[in-house]
Amino acid sequence: MTRSLITLIALAALALPVSAQAQSRDTDTKTVNIVGTAPVMCFAGTLSGTGSYDLGVLIDTTSGQLRSDLSAPAQVLVGSFCTGRSTITVSATPLEAQNFTATPPSGFARRVDYTATASGWTVTPASYQTAAASNTAATQSRPTSFSGDVTVAISGFATTGGQNLRLVADGDYRGLVTVTIAAVN
C-alpha cells in the first residue's frame, strides 16, 4: 500500500515539468556548483613507550662530572600525519636542578644542555640545541601530506658552563622536549 502511494507521487512530479516545458521552450540548463573544503589536519602521533627520557644518574660518581656515556632510548610518535603542507618544530629546555635553585658556587653547575632531534618527517631532521642562542634548524618544512612515525632523540649532553664543572647534588633534574607538527595554510 505504501509502495503504491510513493509511485503515484513520483509520477505526478514527472508529469508537471513536461507540462511546464510545453508552455515555454523545449531545453533549459542550469549549473550547480558543488564546493567542499578539506582542511589541513595534523596529528602529532601517539607516544610509544614511556613518552619520556629517564637518564638516571647524570654524573660519574668518582669525578662528579657529567657522565660521558649518557643516553636514553629514542621515543616515537606513532601514526603522525598531516593532510597537507606542514612544518615540524622541535624545542627543548635544559635539564635543570629543581631543588638547588641558587647560583651554584665556583666549579659547579646546575644545568645540562643537550640536542633534541625529530626525524622521519622531513629530509632534514628538526633539531634544537638548548645551549644555542638561536636554533635555525628547529623548524623544518614538508611540502606534501605525510603519514608516518616521527623519531625523537636526545643526545650531545654537556654541562652548562663547561665540561670541567661538577653538577650540584639534586634528586630532581628536569627538562622538556616539545615536538609540534603544524599545518601550513
Partner: protein
C-alpha cells in the same frame, strides 16, 4: 534546485569546525635525571716545592729523612704539603683525625720514659679546602684518637690541601728535649662526609 542549494550551504557550514582541527598538534616529552650526593677524594700528590726533610709520598706514607738532630737528639723540622683532587657536590663537613694525637713509638712502649726525654712528637696539619683555611693540632699530650670537624655550607670542588708540619725541637715535654730512640708513627685520616 533549491534543495541542492541547501546541501551546499550545509557543506560550507561543516567546514568551519573542520578547519579548527588544523591547529598545531604537539607532544611533550619530559627529560629527567638525578645527581646523587657525592664526596670524592683522589690519591694525594706532593705539591712541588712543598717538602722539607721528607723523602716524599710513598703510597700513603710520608717518610721523614732525618727525624732528630744527631748532635742534640731533638726533633728536626720537617714538613710536606699534599694535594688531593676532591669534590663534594653538597653542603658537607671535613673531619680530620689523628689516630695517636701525635707521633708515638710504634711499639707502644710507655715504660721507657727517662726524665728530660721526649717520648712523643706533636705536629700540626694545615687544611685548605674551598672557603676554609684552618689548622688541626695533634699535641701529643695523650695517646688517643683526636679529631676536628669543619662544617662547609656549600658544595666544593678543587684541591684539598694538607700541610703536615713538625716544628724544630717539637716535643711532648720541653721544647728541644732529646727524643727516646724508636720509630714514631701516626696516621692522619681525612673524611669528606655529610654534615
Amino acid at each position: 534546485m533549491r534543495a541542492l542549494t541547501l546541501v551546499v550551504l550545509a557543506g560550507a557550514a561543516f567546514a568551519s569546525p573542520a578547519l579548527a582541527q588544523s591547529t598545531p598538534n604537539a607532544q611533550n616529552l619530559p627529560v629527567t635525571g638525578r645527581v646523587p650526593q657525592l664526596c670524592s677524594l683522589q690519591q694525594g700528590t706532593i705539591t712541588p716545592g712543598g717538602l722539607n726533610n721528607i723523602a716524599g709520598l710513598d703510597g700513603d706514607t710520608l717518610r721523614i729523612i732525618q727525624f732528630t738532630d744527631p748532635s742534640t737528639l731533638s726533633v728536626r723540622a720537617a714538613s710536606a704539603t699534599i694535594s688531593f683532587d676532591a669534590v663534594c657536590n653538597f653542603p658537607h663537613s671535613v673531619r680530620i683525625e689523628s689516630q695517636n694525637n701525635g707521633m708515638w713509638p710504634v711499639d707502644g712502649r710507655v715504660s721507657d720514659r727517662p726524665q728530660g726525654f721526649a717520648y712523643a712528637v706533636p705536629y700540626t696539619a694545615d687544611i685548605s679546602w674551598g672557603p676554609v683555611n684552618t689548622q688541626f693540632s695533634a699535641d701529643a699530650k695523650v695517646r688517643s684518637t683526636s679529631q676536628q670537624v669543619i662544617v662547609i655550607n656549600d658544595p666544593v670542588a678543587g684541591e684539598f690541601s694538607l700541610r703536615i708540619r713538625i716544628e724544630d725541637g717539637a716535643s711532648n715535654v720541653e721544647t728541644r728535649a732529646p727524643l727516646v730512640a724508636g720509630t714514631y708513627v701516626d696516621t692522619v685520616r681525612i673524611f669528606l662526609e655529610p654534615r
